[in-house]
Symmetry: C2
């Protein structure tokens, strides 16, 4: 059970950053109308607002390098909380930006997951 | 509603770090038997194991300085996810350690909250 949570959480997160870095518009498939994203303190809700934010970031092309992925089952049946730390490399830049991000994955009737909660912060200092 | 979630989440987190820094043993009141803590990748479950870990950290006395607190309502009725970034100052040390931490707060029948999910990571690099 615990191993499955970890496997599913990791696979989802790797899929998420792969889409982010290769075909950002397709992240829309991972959010629902109820989904919430807090990006550097800015609160967005719903797949349209969230994807509009992600697709218009001042990051034309970037690459996420994952350092750690921690997963736990959540109190929502079948839900998984995931905590990620890593670095963001922007195309044409030499320096990476450290970030942390948390996700709350909720199972869908189709046997997949969507992101209900998503909080992203750059780590300064 | 959204404002209340933010107010409650912030108050809980400030209370948590106040207890951590002033009377760490009393953090036991914020965890239940089902609670999970992942501390720098180490998984612990239940109030006894979690508090034993927290009380035996190689941090005799420390002070948490909070930089950011982001909150969202979770899918669990009345639940709140909180994401914190900040710095940890150890007694007698000059340098702070950056950390990020996420909590999933679940309401109790008594009108309070407990920590079901807690994931802590130091931010290196």
């Amino acid at each position: 059970m615990e191993e499955q949570v970890e496997m599913v959480g990791r696979a989802f997160v790797e899929h998420y950053y792969h889409l982010f870095d290769s075909d950002r518009a397709s992240l829309a498939s991972l959010y629902h109308q109820s989904s919430m994203l807090t990006f550097e303190g800015q609160k967005l809700q719903g797949v349209d607002d969230i994807c509009s934010k992600l697709n218009n970031l001042p990051l034309e092309k970037c690459h996420h390098i994952i350092s750690t992925i921690d997963t736990q089952p959540s109190s929502f049946p079948g839900g998984i909380v995931v905590f990620v730390s890593g670095s963001l490399l922007q195309s044409g830049e030499e320096h990476t930006l450290r970030f942390s991000q948390m996700f709350h994955l909720i199972p869908t009737p189709e046997g997949s997951f969507y992101l209900q909660n998503d909080i992203f912060r750059l780590n300064y200092g």
